[in-house]
C-alpha cells in the first residue's frame, strides 16, 4: 500500500486518533462478494479439457482402439518416476500453490476496492475506495497551508500525510466532516499527520 516517494519521516507529528462520534455507529451490512466468473471460466475450461480428453481416450480403448500415445506416456512416467524425482516435486509444488490460490479465491470475499454504505430502505450501496479519496482530496484542496497531501484509503482507516504549515488538527476536523458525509456502514478511522511539521502543532 505504500507508494513511492514516501516523504513521511518518523519525526512527523501525529494527531492522536480520536474516538469517532457516537452517532456514527457501525451498521451490519453483508459484505458484497465477487462472483469470480473469469477465474471460474479458466478453471472450468481446464477441467473440461482434461476430463474430455480422458473420456475420449477411455471410450476409444473400450471400443477396441489402442490407447493414445500421450496417455500411455503419462502412465509410464507416473509408474517409473519416484516421489523424490525433481520433476515430480516441482509438479507437486505447482499443484499445491495453484490449489492454495483457488481455495483463496473460493473463500475470500473479494471486491476489496468497494466499501458498503448505510442502506436506505431497499437501496444498498457501495462506494469505491478511491472515490472517498477523491472527496477528501477535493475538500483538502480548499484548505490553505497544505503544500502536499498524500491520502491512503485502507479498508478500515484513512491515513493523510500533509506537508505545509496547516494545523493537522483543523485539517482532521475538516476531513472528518467530509468523511462523515459519506455515511459508511462501518465508519473509518482518520489519522492526519504532518510529515515535516513546518509549524504544524499537534493537538
Amino acid at each position: 500500500m505504500t507508494g513511492p516517494g514516501d516523504e513521511g519521516g518518523p519525526e512527523g507529528s501525529e494527531v492522536p486518533g480520536e474516538v469517532p462520534e457516537p452517532e456514527q455507529a457501525a451498521v451490519k451490512v453483508p459484505r458484497p462478494k465477487a462472483p469470480r466468473t473469469p477465474e471460474t471460466a479458466l478453471v472450468a475450461t481446464g477441467v473440461l479439457l482434461v476430463a474430455g480428453a480422458l473420456l475420449y481416450d477411455v471410450v476409444a480403448v473400450r471400443t477396441g482402439h489402442p490407447a493414445r500415445r500421450w496417455r500411455a506416456e503419462i502412465a509410464d512416467e507416473l509408474a517409473t518416476r519416484h516421489l523424490d524425482d525433481l520433476w515430480v516435486l516441482v509438479g507437486a509444488g505447482v499443484a499445491t500453490l495453484l490449489g492454495g490460490v483457488l481455495l483463496w479465491l473460493a473463500f475470500a470475499p473479494g471486491l476489496r476496492r468497494w466499501l458498503s454504505l448505510r442502506p436506505h430502505g431497499g437501496t444498498g450501496a457501495t462506494i469505491e475506495r478511491a472515490g472517498i479519496g477523491h472527496l477528501l482530496a477535493d475538500r483538502a484542496a480548499g484548505l490553505t497551508g497544505i503544500e502536499h497531501l498524500r491520502i491512503r484509503i485502507g479498508r478500515r482507516r484513512v491515513r493523510v500525510t500533509l506537508i505545509g504549515p496547516a494545523d493537522p488538527a483543523s485539517v482532521q476536523r475538516q476531513l472528518r466532516e467530509e468523511l462523515g458525509r459519506v455515511t459508511l456502514a462501518r465508519p473509518m478511522r482518520l489519522d492526519v499527520r504532518s510529515a515535516r511539521g513546518a509549524g504544524g502543532v499537534a493537538g
Binding site: 500500500m1 465477487a34 462472483p35 469470480r36 466468473t37 471460474t40 478453471v43 472450468a44 475450461t45 477441467v47 473440461l48 476430463a51 473420456l55 477411455v58 471410450v59 473400450r62 502412465a75 507416473l78 509408474a79 517409473t80 518416476r81 519416484h82 516421489l83 523424490d84 509438479g91 507437486a92 509444488g93 499443484a95 499445491t96 490449489g99 490460490v101 483457488l102 481455495l103 479465491l105 473463500f107 454504505l117 448505510r118 436506505h120 431497499g122 437501496t123 444498498g124 450501496a125 457501495t126 462506494i127 478511491a130 472515490g131 472517498i132 479519496g133 477523491h134 472527496l135 477535493d138 484542496a141 503544500e147 502536499h148 497531501l149 491520502i151 491512503r152 506537508i163 458525509r181 455515511t183
Partner: protein
C-alpha cells in the same frame, strides 16, 4: 442457487483436490514423515520417497472389476457435461428479458414489461438526480425476485449518502409504484470523480495533480 455460490464451489473443490494431491506428493517426496517422526497409518498413500507416483499395480488394481469402467466413464461424462453446462450458462444474458407486472383489478389479463424499458426509465431517472455524472442500471436475476444493480458516477464533491436517498425516493419509488411491484431491491455502485486542481501550488504537488495519490 446463486451463480457466485456455484462458481465458488467449483473453485473450492478443484483447489482442494490440487492442494491435497500436491501436499501428499511433497510430503512423501521430501520424506517429511520420516523427518518429523510421524507414522502414517498403513493405508496412507505416498509415504516413501522411493515409491513411484502411480505404480502400474495401483493403476490396474480395479481394472478387472466389473464396476470400474462404467464408473470411470460415467464420472468423466458427468464432469464434462457439468463444465459444458457452466460454460453455456455464461453465454446467456444475465438478466430476465421481461418481468411480470401484477394486475390485481383485471382477471385474465397478464402484463409483462420488457426489462430494457424498465432499465432505461430508471437510468433516465437516475441521470437527472443532483450531482450524477453518469448512471447505468441493470435488472439481474436473484433468488426470489429480480434486483436492480446500478453503477453511478458522481461529479467531484458529490454526496453519496444523498444519492442513495434520492435514488430510493425517486427512480426506485417511481418504478415500484407505477408497476405495482411489491419488492425491487437495489444495489448501487458509486464512483466519485476528482476535480482537477486548478494550479500547481508547489513543485511537490505536480505529481499529485497528474495522478491523485489515492490508493
Amino acid at each position: 442457487m446463486r451463480r457466485g455460490t456455484v462458481n465458488r464451489t467449483l473453485l473450492g473443490v478443484v483447489g482442494a483436490v490440487l492442494l491435497a494431491v500436491g501436499v501428499l506428493v511433497l510430503a512423501g517426496g521430501l520424506d517429511l514423515y520420516g523427518r518429523l517422526g510421524v507414522d502414517p497409518p498403513g493405508w496412507w498413500p505416498l509415504t516413501s520417497p522411493d515409491q513411484p507416483v502411480v505404480s502400474a499395480r495401483s493403476r490396474t488394481r480395479w481394472v478387472g472389476e466389473s464396476w470400474w469402467w462404467p464408473t470411470m466413464i460415467g464420472g468423466l461424462s458427468v464432469v464434462v457435461v457439468a463444465m459444458v453446462w457452466w460454460l453455456v450458462a455464461q453465454l446467456r444474458r444475465s438478466g430476465p428479458t421481461s418481468i411480470a407486472v401484477p394486475t390485481p383489478g383485471a382477471s385474465g389479463l397478464r402484463l409483462r414489461v420488457r426489462t430494457r424499458a424498465l432499465e432505461e426509465a430508471l437510468e433516465a431517472g437516475t441521470s437527472v438526480l443532483p450531482e450524477v455524472e453518469r448512471a447505468g442500471v441493470r435488472l439481474v436475476r436473484a433468488p426470489g425476485h429480480p434486483r436492480l444493480r446500478g453503477a453511478v458516477r458522481l461529479t467531484p464533491g458529490g454526496d453519496p449518502a444523498g444519492l442513495v436517498e434520492h435514488f430510493e425516493t425517486g427512480p426506485r419509488a417511481d418504478a415500484l409504484s407505477s408497476l405495482g411491484l411489491p419488492e425491487l431491491p437495489a444495489d448501487l455502485r458509486i464512483r466519485v470523480l476528482q476535480a482537477a486542481p486548478t494550479e500547481p501550488r508547489h513543485w511537490l504537488s505536480r505529481r499529485w495533480r497528474r495522478h491523485p495519490r489515492v490508493e
